[in-house]
Symmetry: C2
Subunit: 351 residues, 2 copies
């Protein structure tokens, strides 16, 4: 018993016949081969541009593919080639505009090289992080990972057997990475505030971040040189909400600071909003700075003084490094972007 092929009006084997019962099927390389009267190998070579063809065959192939609407199955292809043309990107929180920009930059470069981005948002959830990334690693050619896990606990990443790029400095791991000079960032901010005449300077950090210590160190170094000490506080999350919540603790305590360096822009934005609610006039009563240069610091009131860490460029470079690695041009170094101070209205001379 024979049936007519839904695609090509040719006869089918029993197995192919089954296909007809499925709701919707895509034509396979065999359908094209039959339709064009060539072998599957020929179709494959044509699809991959591996070879040249006689005009006759080429025309028939072209038409058959067009008529059937054939698109080769990337999964089957990947099984053989071992490559998926997909890159995994694991970030801590897509809600944070810093990471949004990283994604944007990474995505742009990926697209340029015909890679697709597989995104995983670990939602700052340390527990799930590892299993999510391990699952991700199985479906991609390489990964870019942002994680809070200490280097010593990140050895398992090496067992993923996939090219990796980290979004942080990781001296303890033989993995290329990109990041920013955190120490210099806060050093610059502290210097800026000292120049404005501030003496009582506080730092509102986020202790769970691996880079928090570096940021504290930078600010401390700068203040030390001036014989001052840094008043360190902690927000419980790297978010605006957390900045709001921490504000009264910082501003209504015994040692009210003249200026506050925040771990990032989100905390700074929340801090400023709450400070205004508490009746402080900014920047007159307190200068505030962030780090990241997220797009909306510019639209806050007062507009936020911050450090541009070039998030988008960071994503671009991370992706470029990974793709280079995939192409054999390995580069196991750490690349550090230079922080750039953006002075806006949230910092002013101490009065």
């Amino acid at each position: 018993m024979f049936r007519v092929c839904v695609f090509c009006d040719n006869r089918l084997t029993r197995k192919e016949n089954v296909t007809l019962r499925m709701k919707k099927v895509s034509p396979t390389i065999r359908d094209v081969a039959v339709e064009a009267g060539v072998s599957v190998a020929t179709v494959s070579k044509y699809m991959n541009g591996t070879q040249r063809f006689s005009p006759a065959v080429e025309a028939r192939l072209k038409e058959a593919i067009e008529r059937l609407g054939y698109r080769s199955n990337p999964l089957a292809r990947s099984m053989i080639t071992g490559r998926t043309r997909t890159i995994g990107l694991a970030i801590l929180d897509i809600s944070n505009p810093h990471f949004t920009n990283v994604v944007k930059g990474a995505n742009r470069i990926a697209l340029q090289h015909d890679y697709t981005l597989l995104l995983v948002d670990t939602e700052e959830n340390q527990a799930r992080e590892r299993s999510l990334i391990e699952a991700l690693a199985q479906r991609v050619d390489g990964l870019i990972v942002s994680s809070r896990m200490p280097d010593e606990e990140s050895q398992w990443m090496l067992d993923l057997n996939k090219p990796l790029v980290l979004l942080r400095r990781s001296p303890g791991l033989p993995i290329p990475s990109v990041g920013i000079d955190n120490r210099l960032s806060t050093y610059m901010l502290a210097r800026h505030l000292l120049n404005l005449g501030h003496r009582r300077i506080a730092y509102l950090g986020f202790g769970q971040a691996r880079i928090n210590d570096e940021r504290i160190r930078g600010a401390r170094e700068c203040l030390d040189e001036a014989g001052l000490t840094l008043d360190v506080h902690d927000a419980h999350a790297p978010t605006a909400k957390a900045g709001e919540q921490a504000c009264s603790r910082v501003m209504l305590g015994p040692q009210r600071p003249q200026a506050v360096i925040c771990y990032n822009d989100l905390i700074a934005l929340g801090f400023m909003k709450e400070a205004a609610s508490l009746g402080f006039k900014l920047p007159r009563d307190v200068s505030v700075t962030g780090i990241d240069n997220v797009p909306y610091g510019e639209y806050a009131a007062p507009a936020l003084t911050t450090i541009d860490i070039q998030s988008e460029k960071m994503g671009e470079l991370a992706m470029q490094k990974l793709i280079d690695g995939l192409a054999g041009r390995s580069d196991a170094e750490h690349s550090m972007f230079e922080p750039r101070l953006i002075v806006r209205e949230s910092t002013a001379a101490c009065g």
Copy 2:
């Protein structure tokens, strides 16, 4: 000639031997089968929990898998099952916090159902949109798509042969969708402004968006009832930058509005910043509203009055619909979220 298996100390066929030359290999189901002294079918069933086993076999499997660090290859699995446990999400611009929230919501539900998210950011690029989405469709079980393409030109989406959910109302397409009541949104905003005593009300839209017309209509309807007309302007992009650029045109023209309804929050934020630069006091000189309720409208000055369109819930529902569809519980309807007015400080009584 025999060689010893890197994983299991057992003998290898010629083919398996080749494997040794590759840089890094992952063990296959066969390695596990050999190591545990069972058949590949048994390993497969164990991995999928399809069946129960004798304690002896189970123990050996467990140990072999552990020792080899075996993880089953999802690609090979997908080839057979026809499912990838991956959902594609195509959005217009990850930089827009509205979409960020959609991603967040969609991702959360996907994770809950053990799906992974494949993200494509079309970057508002109409030309690449189609090919990007077609490529995406090949690697996923279903897609959520946000696009500016008119329904009439979106027929090709039906040929993707994949379950789909659209992030917009598409009466011309037999595809389930989620969105918001755009007409009601601007109607509510206009009503709010009328209540505050404003009479000269402008709309700063984004003409390329499919929903722009609906938003105009809503505001018009409301003003009509009061015998007023809407002054319509256009921004060239749905971004803060574009809002800034459009501001002087709106505010320094002959018919200066008392209130401006912006297409979205980003345009509104840019507009407010520029208006302040031009010397206007907000909201005294002009009331401004946005739509989307992006997280940072709250931290702008003045804090932005807006419409909450529940972006994150939208992402959640879109994903839930898709997953339901994948599970056979189809639901081809359009779900509309109710707009909710959030009054902050950017709108005030007309003085």
